[in-house]
């Protein structure tokens, strides 16, 4: 049993944590790619900026300024610092639900990125700064995993993390591989490596496919891999698992519950393969994933958070 408002906060806590991590990684890869004076670097910047929804930016202002804005701009609601501030605000709302160990990790990180010295630290060593932010977010997830009860509170947070992850990875792959007149296909080696890095997938990928970096294999790995925690299939399976665990107690109305929607998406990814994807292009499947995630999100709200009271009053 937990308050609906608390479930909402925990879910968004998870989403913002995942978003902050993804944005930090994009910035880090982007800055790293531009160190080499090649076209591939510029290409990586375009991919990163498109993946966060700013296709026009990044090229004109220079990648450092773009990365700095992506990380530290408090007026941009889609920056790392804003995501962390919102994650912490949500954590504060549910301070009684998360363990002190978990809270301290997030609070410490928040204090670091909002400190007056953060701007200077970033310009002195952006790679180190971003590395530390990502490491701190991993510590947060580890603390949550090892200190919180894996009950409803934890499940809502994990649900937020995997929902956000499925959408972010889909978006990244859409930008790279879906048919699009603006960007074209990515086939340059350096750019492809950057894409893998943005999904934190380079090392696991190499272990499966060796250093032969092929768009087909990247798609296969990031969409269909069963074990890699950032593949869309893995994220969907997690979403389905957490939702069916919670659905046991949930109220079932007339409409399909979120666990059914998640199960359908999971099955679809389970039985599709990369040949099919190549035949029709990655676009339709990735669009389906994004749309289905949005439907699952709405269904979560209708079932657990913003349900109409009339249906739940005692007879």
């Amino acid at each position: 049993m937990m308050l609906a408002r608390v479930a909402d906060s925990l879910y968004w806590l998870g989403r913002y944590i995942e978003r902050a991590e993804h944005l930090s990684r994009l910035s880090s890869v982007m800055l790293n790619a531009t160190l080499d004076q090649t076209d591939s670097g510029a290409h990586a910047v375009r991919i990163a900026m498109a993946a966060v929804g700013d296709p026009a930016d990044g090229v004109d202002v220079g990648s450092f300024e773009a990365a700095e804005a992506l990380v530290l701009d408090r007026s941009d609601t889609n920056s790392v610092v804003s995501s962390l501030a919102r994650a912490r605000e949500n954590a504060r709302q549910v301070r009684d639900q998360i363990t002190t160990e978990t809270w301290e990790r997030l609070n410490l990180l928040y204090l670091k990125v909002t400190d007056d010295k953060a701007g200077k630290e970033f310009s002195d060593g952006s790679a180190n700064f971003l590395h530390d932010v990502i490491a701190d977010l991993h510590l947060f997830k580890g603390a949550a995993d090892t200190t919180m009860s894996h009950g409803e509170s934890w499940r809502f947070m994990m649900l937020g993390i995997y929902m956000e992850r499925a959408q972010l990875v889909s978006r990244l792959l859409e930008v790279c591989f879906a048919e699009s007149p603006v960007h074209g296909h990515v086939d340059d080696h350096v750019a492809l490596v950057s894409v893998l890095r943005m999904a934190c997938a380079l090392e696991p990928y190499l272990r499966v496919y060796t250093a032969e970096i092929e768009p087909r294999h990247i798609l296969e790995f990031l969409v269909f891999d069963e074990d890699f925690p950032r593949s869309i299939r893995f994220a969907t399976a997690q979403i389905e698992q957490h939702l069916s665990a919670m659905a046991r107690n949930a109220f079932t109305g007339e409409r399909p519950g979120p666990e059914r929607l998640a199960g359908r998406l999971k099955a679809r990814l389970q039985f599709a393969d990369v040949d099919e994807l190549e035949a029709v292009g990655a676009g339709p499947l990735l669009t389906t994933v994004v749309n289905e995630c949005a439907r699952i999100h709405e269904a979560i709200y209708e079932t657990f958070v913003a349900y109409p009271l009339e249906t739940r009053l005692p007879a």
Binding site: M1, M2, L3, A4, R5, V6, A7, E89, R92, Q93, R95, D96, Q97, T100, W103, E104, N107, L108, L111, E152, F156, M246, N249, A250, F251, F304, V305, Y307, L309, R312, L313, P314
Partner: protein, 547 residues
């Protein structure tokens, strides 16, 4: 409560205070106060610029005329401070500063902060905390304990009476119009059944130690007193800062407060509700005491709800959960009376739940503290508390009041007007240091103006003499100096009355200042209540129960 006084020019001497009611609602930042210590004081107290590393010497530590918690007027260390004094004198300035930094960092990390809203950005500050504990010997504490339990018992009986048959008003012990005319009197509470007659389930009284060393009650807080989380956090920190000294001193534990609070709240639920659902009701994350609300909910293991989580249906209170709505039995509310139910009290409030009060009247939910308890900590009613104790319990008050003059009484009004330069005069209904005159520090014109205001509405004013708070050693800028302190113990009252063997000691961190409020540059320190004295324990480990 907020003790308020202008920075006192004569150094550690003199000063007045005023009091007002104590819900932590202010977000104001601490005003910056210039250090205008005059030269004679500076010469007396700040001669240590080129002192050796030991941060305290006899020359540096001059308590002044106030009672000092650690030193006798002759400069001897009081026996119960021996272990701490021994430890303090072995630590150098560097070491102390390091421990102070560790302490502050741990508070920041835990989020024990209050929010300061500025023009362009919002910052969070740590509640300033002093690392030296304030120590109270067992014998003194047993008097405080008995006095507080007696006082709360009488005040609960008083509340039961005035919201019942009003016998005390019939007998003329307390003036009828004083009670029924008080803004905190809630007509809606008339004849509402309150289990165990426990109206104020959580009480945080403010005590001060006068110059003669005796404790006196400055104010009772029966509405939504806060600060208990600081008491627990300070204890946690003190154990890490002075572990050896803590062990050697024999300090009574305060850690049971959350489960005693839960037991108190559960004892308020109706007998037929098997396992009552308790919740903490908070105004939300922007309230300056939010940390405490979340802290107590977490340590009690009960949901922390906001008004928007509650639903009232057919006079039952429910909360919205992920699996539907669920019945609520006891609400420990940290929201003021005015805001708990827009249908009964303030209509523009969205902090409570519509219909909550009717559910309470119907006996389907318990609100703790009961609405309307504020009438018993009213500044004017305060003056009658010794009479109230005598009326209901047939006993003399164990803890004295501060002498208080009611301007509503013509004889007392005349006395106050003739001696405005000696008194602190306060408006009964005002708070935040407004509507107040500190006689000894006011100009003749200010006093004349204030006299006009008093004459125009004498019912609204009370006067009290200026009183020195006692001082205790604090670490300030790397040196150990005396600072004024008060004492806020917490008393629980449900089926039983329990005085927690500890307290929040609030500190006026500015030299000579008597302002202990956190919004005005006040801090806090841990309070050690000793379990034994001269080798004799006083028995119980956790609070004494008084039926």
């Amino acid at each position: 409560m907020r003790i308020h006084v202008a920075d006192v020019e004569s150094g550690a001497h003199g000063g007045g205070y005023t009091l007002e009611s104590g819900t932590a609602r202010a977000h104001r930042s601490a005003p910056k106060v210039m250090r205008n210590v005059d030269k004679s004081v500076a010469a007396k107290t700040q001669t240590l610029v080129d002192a050796p590393t030991l941060p305290m010497t006899e020359a540096a530590y001059l308590p002044g005329i106030a009672y000092d918690e650690m030193f006798t007027p002759e400069g001897e260390v009081r026996p119960h401070y021996d272990p701490l004094h021994g430890r303090m004198s072995t630590l150098g300035a560097e070491e102390l500063a390091g421990r102070q930094r560790t302490l502050e960092r741990s508070f920041l990390l835990q989020g024990i902060t209050f929010t300061v809203y500025g023009a362009d950005n919002t910052t969070e500050r740590v509640m300033p905390t002093d690392l030296f504990p304030r120590i109270i010997p067992a014998a003194e504490w047993s008097k405080i304990e008995a006095g507080l339990a007696q006082r709360l018992q009488a005040l609960n009986l008083f509340l039961a009476d005035i919201y019942g048959d009003q016998q005390i008003l019939m007998d003329g012990v307390v003036p009828r119009e004083l009670v029924l005319g008080a803004p905190s009197y809630r007509r809606e509470m008339q004849h509402v059944y309150v289990p165990h007659k426990a109206y104020a389930n959580v009480c945080g009284s403010d005590l001060i130690r006068c110059q003669d060393g005796q404790f006196a009650v400055l104010e009772d807080n029966l509405r939504v007193p806060s600060g208990v989380s600081y008491m627990l956090a300070n204890r946690d920190a003190a154990k890490r800062t002075f572990p050896g000294t803590y062990r050697a001193a024999g300090v009574r534990p305060v850690e049971r407060y959350p489960d005693l609070l839960l037991a108190t709240l559960k004892s308020m639920a109706a007998d037929w509700r098997g396992d009552p659902q308790v919740v903490v009701l908070t105004p939300g994350v922007y309230n300056s005491a939010y940390y405490e609300h979340a802290y107590l909910a977490r340590l009690m293991g009960v949901p922390l709800v906001e008004g928007r989580d509650l639903v009232v249906h057919e006079n039952m209170v429910y909360m919205r959960t992920t699996t539907g709505i669920r019945r609520v039995d006891v609400i420990y509310r940290r929201v003021d009376d005015d805001f708990i139910d827009p249908l009964t009290f303030r209509r523009d409030s969205s902090l409570g739940a519509a219909g909550l009060f009717n559910a309470y009247r119907a006996g389907n939910v318990v609100i703790c503290n009961a609405p309307g308890t504020g009438v018993a900590d009213d500044k004017a009613v305060y003056a009658y508390v010794p009479d109230i104790i005598r009326y209901y319990l047939g006993e003399d008050a164990i803890l004295p009041n501060i002498e208080t003059f009611l301007c509503r009484e013509p004889r007392q009004l005349g006395h106050v007007l003739d001696n405005l330069d000696k008194y602190v005069v306060k408006a009964v209904g005002a708070s935040g240091g407004y509507g107040m005159l500190v006689g000894p520090h006011a100009s003749q014109k200010e006093r004349d103006d204030f006299a006009q205001a008093i004459k125009a509405d004498p019912d609204n004013y009370i006067a009290q003499p200026t009183i020195q708070l006692s001082t205790a050693p604090c670490l300030v800028d790397g040196r150990i100096e005396p600072r004024h302190v008060d004492l806020r113990p917490f008393i629980l009252s449900g089926e039983k009355t329990i005085v927690t063997p500890g307290a929040l000691t609030r500190v006026a961190l500015k030299r000579g200042s008597l302002v202990v409020n956190s919004s005005q540059g006040g801090g806090s320190k841990d309070t050690w209540v000793l379990a034994e004295e001269n080798g004799q324990t006083n028995g119980h480990g956790n609070g004494s129960a008084r039926p």
